[in-house]
């Protein structure tokens, strides 16, 4: 069994990395070795010891290569009701031949765009996993939405993952949107692995001024995934970025979401819902950085935890000295359905400006017994009453999904879960 605290653990992956993006990879490798994987006591990974989990689970630290994906598989994997553009990935590699060809947009394998400034948004020194990805990713995608283009139909980023004996899959996507562009991405993975695997994902989003970018993700791929993702975006003047993240399954999942508000009158929204059961462990770490005046951030994460599941929420808000007139709101609410379920929640506000409106709050409790009795007293079956109350709790997050077909899909998954499991 390998020991991940040793720096050479991932050598096999690092050595096998492609030869492109040489300076970026070298920088990342150095940073990764300097940081090492976060040990048990590392503050940022205190409740989510990915390193320990990997040590216990993964035996073969090599990169999983792309495999063949059939047209039928793609078709059958697209969620019902979806209308839009599909971008297909196989173990992180972009497959243009199975993807929609969208006129006016530039979409290609990342390896074909060697001038891309990877790592300029998701900086390697911030997170060892981001560094590991940058040092050793196989290939990814480059997506460029030109200035003023309003892509009405959403993009489905459909990733097929299959690893043998617990290999490592490292997707990497670079998205740039020109000034005044509007675009929606839906991120969904399909797991074809039979055993545990490690997914280490990085998405960098670079928006121009006055852009509207929506990034929706559903994590519902199965019980085998040990997953770390770093999603980071730069938000410029007069722009709005909205992320909605729905987590329904996984072994151990860590989502790092970082928003950098870099221009005034910009708005960053972060919404999340985690419905967990079994032993699933989901950790959402969000970070919003208010660097300029007159920007707004809104954050709402909600969790329902059953069985022995574990949820972690850590929401950082930085308001820098120059960021006067900031509005920053954060909320995390949890319902525990079992005595063995655990939530660790931590708001973390650092405010250096003096003329700001910031609020945060977190609650963790049980299902409201009084409300349950009220519904029962009107003749509604107890199980159904519970489902109704839990759905009402969860629905507040889902209504932030503006893409109708995806919202409906998520609602159906959530209702199914609340009806059957809870």
């Amino acid at each position: 069994m390998s020991t991940l605290t040793k720096q050479d653990t991932f050598n096999s992956i690092l050595e096998g990395a492609p030869k492109n993006f040489e300076s970026e990879r070298t920088l990342a490798k150095e940073s990764y070795f300097a940081q090492g994987l976060p040990a048990l006591k590392a503050e940022e990974y205190k409740f989510t010891s990915i390193a320990k989990k990997l040590e216990q689970t993964i035996e073969n630290f090599s990169s999983a290569q792309a495999f063949e994906v059939s047209d039928e598989l793609v078709k059958s994997s697209i969620y019902p009701g979806f209308e839009g553009n599909v971008l297909v990935f196989s173990n992180g590699k972009f497959l243009p031949e199975l993807s929609s060809n969208i006129e006016g947009l530039e979409i290609s394998a990342l390896s074909e765009k060697p001038e891309t400034a990877i790592g300029s948004i998701a900086k390697v020194e911030k997170d060892a996993f981001a560094a590991l990805n940058q040092a050793s990713f196989v290939d990814g995608a480059f997506i460029s939405v030109p200035k003023k283009s309003q892509v009405e139909k959403p993009f489905l980023l459909l990733s097929f993952n299959k690893s043998n004996e617990g290999q490592v899959i490292q997707p990497r996507i670079w998205i740039e949107a020109g000034d005044f562009a509007e675009v929606t991405f839906i991120d969904q993975s399909v797991d074809l692995s039979e055993t545990s695997y490690f997914l280490n994902k990085v998405i960098e989003i670079k928006g121009g001024v006055n852009t509207h970018i929506r990034y929706y993700r559903i994590q519902n791929e199965g019980k085998n995934s040990i997953e770390v993702s770093n999603i980071e975006t730069d938000i410029q003047q007069d722009s709005r970025f909205t992320s909605v993240n729905i987590s329904l399954s996984g072994d151990m999942v860590r989502n790092n979401l970082n928003l950098n508000l870099l221009g005034s009158n910009s708005e960053g929204n972060m919404y999340g819902l985690y419905l967990l059961n079994g032993k699933t462990h989901v950790d959402n770490h969000t970070n919003v950085d208010h660097t300029i005046p007159h920007a707004e951030s809104n954050e709402l994460y909600k969790g329902i935890l059953a069985d022995q599941s574990r949820g972690v929420f850590n929401g950082k808000i930085f308001v820098r000295q120059d960021a006067q007139k900031t509005n920053a709101f954060q909320q995390n609410n949890n319902i525990l359905l079992s005595e063995d379920a655990v939530v660790n929640t931590k708001p973390q506000l650092e405010i250096w400006a003096d003329d700001v409106k910031c609020s945060h709050g977190c609650t963790t409790g049980q299902l409201d017994e009084e409300a349950l009795f009220y519904l029962q007293a009107r003749g509604i079956d107890k199980t159904q009453a519970k489902g109704l109350l839990l759905y009402a709790f969860a629905g507040e997050v889902l209504e932030h999904i503006e893409e109708d077909s995806f919202r409906e899909y998520c609602i159906s998954l959530v209702q199914e879960r609340l009806g059957s499991k809870f």
């Binding site: 009107r378 003749g379 009402a392 507040e396």
Partner: protein, 254 residues
């Protein structure tokens, strides 16, 4: 219709009801009065099936069935309705969806076809008039942001929709202004028939000017210590509860 015999109930080991006996027949209105803490709301809650209360002794037979054996939802389906003293606000649950679910589950239990959207809405419109409740209110989340009066009117509206056999109104009058009280009472009176019965739990006589009881019972220390007709309520209004307390307490000390 309802027969309560020697009912004892406690909460967290503290006895609240200490031997209640009550017979309610179809067509009757019974008022349960009493000072604060006498067990009035406990009685209402126990009949509706609130779980925190433990029934330690006695029986409750409702239309030939052992009520205490039934779940709260089955009691509602059998025709027991509790209008809550404090109706619960439930954000995210739409009033209309909630009611439709409730009405159809009750109908299913009673062997009736579920109402489709059209029939349900027309039933709703009809019953809304009864308590002068506004459509706008019902398009909101259940009781969320409702005023006290609106919540109580919504309780009676729900009662109208579910067509119970036995309605228990728990302090429905508390906090209502005279207009709201009149509307709520009107609603209750119009729903009365010779097949249904009503138990009105109240602290004040005022409500009984509008919903006229056939019997008035005074609850004190978990027992019905005095029963009479509507004149008893007027006497209580005039003299307060102290004379009854004195009467009971002096007997107890003898």
């Amino acid at each position: 219709m309802l027969s309560i015999k020697n009912l004892h109930a406690s909460i967290e080991g503290t006895p609240i009801l200490r031997g209640i006996n009550l017979e309610v027949k179809p067509g009757e209105v019974h008022a349960i009065m009493g000072p604060n803490g006498s067990g009035k709301s406990t009685l209402a809650s126990v009949l509706a099936g609130r779980e925190e209360y433990e029934v330690t002794e006695g029986e409750v037979i409702f239309q030939g069935k052992d009520l205490l054996e039934l779940s709260p939802e089955d009691r509602a389906r059998e025709g027991v309705f509790l209008a809550f003293q404090y109706p619960v606000e439930i954000p995210g649950v739409s009033s209309t969806n909630f009611l439709r679910t409730a009405v159809n589950q009750v109908r299913e239990y009673r062997g009736l076809e579920p109402l489709d959207a059209v029939k349900f809405l027309s039933l709703m419109k009809e019953k809304m008039k009864l308590v002068e409740i506004d459509q706008k209110l019902l398009s909101r989340s259940l009781n969320e942001g409702f005023s006290g009066g609106e919540k109580k009117r919504n309780e009676i509206f729900q009662m109208a929709m579910l067509e119970p056999t036995l309605s228990i109104l728990d302090e429905t009058d508390s906090g209502l202004d005279i207009d709201a009280l009149r509307i709520v009472s009107n609603g209750v009176n119009q729903l009365k028939s010779d097949k249904t019965a009503t138990i009105v739990v109240t602290h004040y006589q005022r409500l009984l000017d509008y919903i006229v009881p056939d019997f008035v019972h005074v609850l004190y220390k978990g027992r019905i210590v005095k029963s009479g007709t509507k004149e008893l309520a007027l006497e209580l209004e005039e003299k307060g509860y102290d004379w009854i307390k004195d009467e009971v307490d002096s007997k107890a000390t003898v």
